[in-house]
């Protein structure tokens, strides 16, 4: 199963949906989401 998945990825040149999470919840500011 792993082999099949990997081969399909290589053969089709498909991409992998992902979310890259950068940072932490440390301090809060309005910037850059200050409408006014």
């Amino acid at each position: 199963m792993r082999l099949a998945s990997m081969l399909c990825a290589v053969l089709l040149g498909s991409s992998l949906a992902a979310t890259i999470d950068i940072g932490e919840d440390q301090l809060f500011w309005s910037k850059p989401f200050c409408g006014d």
Partner: protein, 164 residues
């Protein structure tokens, strides 16, 4: 964002930010534009455009007028890009926001930030070419998109299985 923080080449389709526990749940902009590009320096130059590698600055979002963003406390909100941006994984990623303070702009979304280092975010009046505020904090954000898969050969795949 530094290349070391992103860690991958990625086709960015949307970006998300996390509202804090402070303030109101909406912010309205008369207009909002977002640009992305590549840069080499780990600290930003006061001249906005000098931070980009030539030819890489790309407008990825244009609200085309009034836009209201909404998020509850500690909720993520997402901006879908008009034009996906290909981040190569080499050099740093610059994200630039531009908005006027014209009517009917109203409200602010206070989003979570983190301490990233000297001159990691810069700000200036709308229309100015240089910044007058320099920050050590940047937003906690998510880049949503598709990762580039490493091109591989059947030979190396077989070799990896042999190692398992």
């Amino acid at each position: 964002m530094l290349d070391s923080e992103i860690g991958n080449a990625v086709q960015i389709q949307s970006i998300s930010f996390k509202r804090s526990t402070f303030g109101v749940d909406t912010a309205t902009f008369a207009d909002l534009n977002i640009y992305m590009g590549h840069g080499t320096a780990d600290q930003l130059n006061p001249v906005f455009l000098n931070n980009y590698l030539p030819g890489t600055r790309t407008q990825v979002f244009d609200s085309g007028g009034i836009i209201t963003l909404t998020a509850g406390m500690n909720e993520w909100f997402t901006i879908n890009l008009d034009t996906p941006y290909w981040y190569s994984g080499v050099n740093n990623l610059i994200i630039e926001f531009e908005w006027p303070s014209d009517e009917p702009s109203e409200g602010s979304l206070y989003i979570w930030h983190w301490q990233a280092g000297t001159n990691r975010a810069i700000f200036g009046p709308f229309g100015s070419t240089t910044a007058d505020e320099f920050e050590t904090t940047v937003p906690h954000l998510r880049l949503n998109g598709n990762l580039e898969l490493q091109t591989d050969t059947f030979g190396s795949i077989k070799a990896r299985f042999a190692e398992d």
